[in-house]
């Protein structure tokens, strides 16, 4: 999967939840949305991007926070992390 378009999609999700007044709820909302709607290979590609400073720097703060906080939960069972 093209990580740039995944970053773009994740940032769009982040922008939506960013407007919620309760920060914890917003951060969890981003992770939950990605968990519920993204196929494992999309999540793996995005999580792998987290380790690439160039990709991570493109992520909005709320998305970065959500992915970092929920990395384990978002990692599909049996996924090969590169």
């Amino acid at each position: 999967m093209d990580v740039n378009s995944l970053v773009e999609m994740a940032n769009q999700i982040g922008e939506f939840f960013d407007s919620m007044p309760d920060r914890a709820e917003a951060v969890d909302g981003v992770a939950d949305h990605i968990h519920r709607f993204w196929a494992p290979r999309m999540r793996i590609a995005l999580l792998n991007g987290l380790d690439d400073p160039e990709v991570a720097s493109e992520l909005k703060p709320i998305v970065l926070e959500a992915l970092t906080k929920h990395r384990v939960a978002l990692t599909p069972a049996g996924a090969v992390v590169t």
Binding site: E8, F16, S19, A39, P40, R41, P76
Partner: protein, 976 residues
């Protein structure tokens, strides 16, 4: 809540529930009333709702009073004087159609005097009518003929030599029906049908006295007039004056079958009138609960595609898309497809293939395809075309109200006081619903339209929107928030409703958010381009309405913030208490016939049937038990993700049923690249559509006329589709999916679609009470249908929301990434037109193309002048995704800065321009906003030249197909 007596939801009337198969013409419309009236007709006591006509009361009691100008789809007119009766204590001979019943009234429908009066009337009619009954196309279906018989007309004393209309010319300009003025009795039924039923007002009676004749517009041929060819006049005509050309050609049908239209999400109930297995005509079913006896130019007339010569009826395969096709037996095609799918999975993993269910096929077929993907492919890579139209509706309404569906019946609009239409063009996209809407506006309801274009409903005969909020494309959320700001800050919130029915914390957060100055109409004016005062007025009108109903379409969903707007609309409805009764609600107008159904059936990669998330172990266990298989717990790929994965090399096989993703999905060049990267594409369709040109296996599909099943329309109404002819390829689509599953080694065992519905009902709580038997009894059923609602649920969320408490969601406006720049200074928005449907595969193969034979670029005169563009000039349209060339249509329906086109013709390449920008929540593409430049050009775009070459080559591969094998295989298998 169960149906009340009349079946209209929560109407309090005492009117009897209609028998869904009663074809009696009761002469005047059904009345709803909470008072009954008892009268005496020919010595028999009859009880009917107050307001009913004497005629209808008589017919309900079994006495068929003679009539010509009356029919129960139209208000009484009282012109033919055949329905005269005698009423004790009243002078003269009142027309029974225009006389309302009164308690204790004593009516006589037959006396010597009445007989003689009626005979005189008929004698006058017949003195100016051709006596060619035996060779007349209406022979056997003519009310004039029937009435001549009923009144006992035996001679015409006036002779036939006087002034008459017998030499009047026929108007044969309309491709579907003929107007033969010589047979007209000037009963006005056609004129009234055009006004009351359709609401177009194209017909009138021109001239006076003897000169009176039906005229279309200013006495123009029908095709040149304002007529929209809905056929309401033809259905209303009691003679052969307005007659379907197919009836003229073939004669009267000998049997008929009630079925459901396969075009838009209105889901009209139609009667296929047949001779053997040949359709003579399709007529609207007067008992159809979605359409109440009305239809449009598509459903009523544009069904000829089903037997078009382009239909492919034999399976075909090829190793590469640069090879010619080879016709093969079903067995060979399916075992080839299965072996390819398994080969790919062995090499690239279980998740490397997937399927697309069709929103045009039946619920049963859709259910089987998602079952095949989940159970036989062993993954959740299944999606449907709802992804690219109404997926935000599913997400947004589930998040706020708790169910992924509209809240009302279509008939509910008849109780609305204020109707808000947002991003929908009902007169073109959902014409039969538009007729209901227009009728309600003519009765006095107020209309507010939120749309960038001045669509027809904004200003059409006897219908005018009080407010047209002509916003800039891509600013729906800004508009919805501005409306919410007014409602909250001007104290228009229905506090009691919100306190009782909604989550208080979420409401308070939302209230705080919309109160912010950044959401005021004044601040948002710079974003939306709509004057703040108009927004304030519109918000007040909606909030203060007794009943305010919102209808929305793809102009809401197909945006980067599509889901946000849907939630914003739900917020508005909850804040103003406009949910949970008739006349209100949140009403998505669905695109394709079975978009609702395909979503209900678990076509989305994250949801099992009934909108239950795939990660829910208890739900999964239920399906695992029923399907004898282990299911994956993770969501699969959505359509745009499939394309991305294909380009990336991790998605290589696709089973695509009844969908043309190459033409309908955005960024065509990206889609073609994705499909060209795949190793096995199996397309099941009735035509070699654009996607099939990239396919390796072609499985011939069956039209809606060739199979049994059900469709679910935008009101959640499940209606039967009934087979009227055998499937041309020998197998119906559901049978093909079963065979493919078996070839994959997964057993599916159904001998009739009713068994598939039984399985759906057993696994889906909202469908528990649905069966073919119940559908036959009730005509149609709106889900949820279960023990709590055995007759279905016309209106949802009555006492509480499906999710319990309604949830307000904060909907911050975020400008779309598709921004105008110096390079791309205009915004393109796309849509459709009345006569064509979606990718046009069906309607382009009918006479409907006479109304629209090419896609045009609509542009405002200022933008055209700036660029030196004149009407009909070729113009190049360029976006960051691609370029195409269309002819220009200059129109003030557009606002400056915005251009528009339709996408009905593949060579137009409308989706070459649209981009991969999509809804944040669902990946629904942003078809409605693309930044473009438009310039005059001399020749087609490079894409169009490439397309033309590719298309010619692919059609040659079809033309040159090797049919020897298939013939041999057929002989072999029949010899076994």
């Amino acid at each position: 809540m169960s149906n009340s007596s009349c079946g209209s939801g929560n109407c309090a009337c005492k009117t009897k529930l209609r028998d869904p198969f009663d074809d009696t013409d009761y002469g005047t419309p059904l009345r709803h009333a909470d008072i009954d009236v008892t009268l005496d007709i020919d010595g028999t006591s009859v009880t009917v709702p107050a307001g009913t006509s004497v005629m209808r009361a008589a017919i309900e009691a079994g006495v068929n009073v003679p009539k010509l100008c009356a029919t129960d789809s139209l208000e009484p007119f009282g012109s033919c004087r055949l329905c005269l009766v005698e009423i004790e204590g009243k002078r003269g001979y009142p027309a029974s159609c225009t006389t309302p019943v009164e308690a204790g009234m004593k009516v006589r429908t037959q006396t010597n005097k009445l007989q003689s009066l009626r005979k005189n009337v008929m004698e006058l009619y017949i003195s100016d009518h051709p006596l060619d009954c035996l060779t007349c196309p209406a022979n056997g279906d003519c009310e004039l003929q029937d009435m001549a018989g009923v009144v006992g007309l035996r001679e015409v004393r006036y002779g036939y030599e006087g002034a008459n209309h017998l030499k009047d010319k026929k108007d044969e300009s309309n491709p579907y029906f003929t107007y033969d003025a010589s047979k007209c009795i000037v009963c006005n039924r056609c004129v009234r049908a055009c006004e009351e039923t359709q609401g177009t007002f194209a017909l009138t009676i021109a001239g006076r006295g003897f000169e009176s004749r039906v005229a279309a517009s200013e006495n123009q041929p029908f095709m040149e007039s304002e007529c929209v060819s809905c056929g309401a006049c033809v259905a209303a005509c009691p003679t052969a004056t307005l007659q379907e050309k197919t009836v003229i050609m073939l004669g009267q049908p000998e049997h008929s079958v009630v079925t459901t239209c396969a075009y838009c999400g209105v889901g009209c109930s139609l009667k296929a009138e047949m001779k053997g297995s040949e359709v003579v005509r399709m007529v609207p079913n007067k008992n159809g609960q979605a359409n109440d006896g009305h239809a449009c130019v598509k459903g009523r007339f544009a069904w000829g595609y089903a037997t078009h010569k382009d239909r492919i009826t034999k399976p075909m395969i090829r190793a590469k898309i640069t090879d010619p096709w080879r016709e093969v037996s079903w067995d060979e095609a399916l075992s080839y497809a299965a072996s390819e799918f398994r080969r790919i999975q062995d090499k690239h993993g279980v998740d490397s293939i997937g399927g697309i269910t069709s929103s045009r096929c039946t619920n049963e077929e859709t259910y089987l395809v998602q079952k095949l993907v989940r159970a036989a492919f062993g993954n959740n890579n299944v999606d449907t075309c709802a992804r690219v139209c109404h997926s935000p509706t599913g997400y947004g309404l589930k998040a706020t109200l708790g169910e992924s569906a509209g809240t009302q019946t279509f008939a509910s609009v008849e109780k609305a006081d204020v109707i808000v239409v947002i991003g929908a063009n009902p007169t073109d996209g959902h014409p039969v619903f538009a007729s209901r809407l227009k009728r309600r506006v003519r009765e006095g309801a107020q209309l507010i339209v939120v749309d960038p274009r001045r669509i027809d409903i904004v200003d059409t005969p006897h219908v005018k929107a009080s407010h047209h909020l002509a916003l800039r494309p891509g600013t729906n959320v800004a508009m919805v928030n501005a409306l919410a700001h007014v409602i909250v800050t001007e104290g228009l919130v229905k506090e009691a409703f919100v306190a009782e029915r909604c989550e208080p914390r979420a409401f308070q957060q939302w209230r705080d958010f919309v109160t912010l100055e950044e959401n005021s109409p004044e601040t948002m004016e710079a974003v939306t381009g709509v004057p703040a005062q108009s927004v304030r007025e519109a918000a007040r009108i909606y909030a203060n309405a007794g009943n305010g109903a919102i209808y929305y379409g793809l102009g809401v969903t197909e945006h980067a913030q599509g889901s946000t707007t849907v939630m914003g609309i739900a917020n508005l409805a909850m804040a103003t208490g406009n949910v949970g009764r008739e006349g209100v609600g949140v009403n998505p107008l669905r695109g394709q016939n079975n978009v609702q159904g395909s979503c209900d059936m678990g076509s989305f990669p994250h949801e099992l049937p009934g909108y239950r998330h795939i990660s829910d172990a208890a739900v999964r266990a239920l399906f695992e038990e029923a399907w004898s298989v282990k299911l994956q717990s993770e969501p699969g790929l959505r359509i745009p993700n499939m394309f991305d994965a294909a380009v990336h090399g991790s998605f290589l096989g696709l089973y695509c049923q009844g969908e043309d993703i190459v033409q309908s999905d955005p960024n065509t060049q990206h889609v073609s690249k994705a499909l060209s990267s795949m190793e096995c594409i199996v397309v099941q369709d009735i035509f070699l559509n654009e996607t099939a040109k990239y396919a390796h296996v072609f499985l011939p599909g069956s039209s809606f006329l060739e199979k049994d099943g059900t469709f679910t329309n935008a009101e959640r109404r499940i209606s039967r589709v009934r087979k009227v002819m055998p499937p041309l390829p020998g197998l119906a689509d559901w049978e093909v999916t079963i065979k493919l599953a078996r070839a994959l080694g997964y057993e599916m065992n159904y001998t009739h679609p009713s068994q598939i519905m039984d399985e759906i009902a057993s696994l889906t709580p909202t469908f528990t009470g649905v069966s073919y038997k119940r559908l036959d009894e009730l005509g149609s059923i709106q889900w949820p249908c279960n023990a709590q609602a055995p007759n279905g649920t016309p209106t949802m969320h009555i006492d509480e929301f499906v999710r319990g408490k309604g949830r307000f969601v904060i909907t911050k406006f975020i400008a779309t990434p598709e921004k105008v720049t110096r390079k791309f200074p205009l915004l393109l928005t796309t849509g459709r037109i009345l006569s064509q449907y979606n990718v046009g595969a069906q309607t382009r193969r009918t006479e409907n193309s006479r109304w629209h034979d090419e896609d045009r670029l609509e542009i405002h005169p200022h933008d055209a002048e700036d660029r030196g563009i004149k009407a009909d000039d070729w113009v190049g349209i360029e976006s960051r995704a691609g370029q195409t060339v269309l002819r220009a249509k200059i129109t003030e329906r557009m606002q400056p800065g915005v251009v528009y086109t339709t996408f009905h013709f593949p060579e137009s390449g409308a989706n070459v321009i649209t981009t991969d920008s999509s809804d944040w929540a669902t990946n629904c593409p942003e078809y409605k906003v693309t930044a473009v430049q438009v310039m005059p050009v001399e020749q087609p775009s490079q894409w169009q030249k490439d397309y033309s070459r590719f298309n010619t080559q692919q059609l040659e591969f079809l033309e040159l197909r090797d049919s020897t094998m298939a013939t041999a295989a057929t002989v072999t298998s029949s010899g076994k």
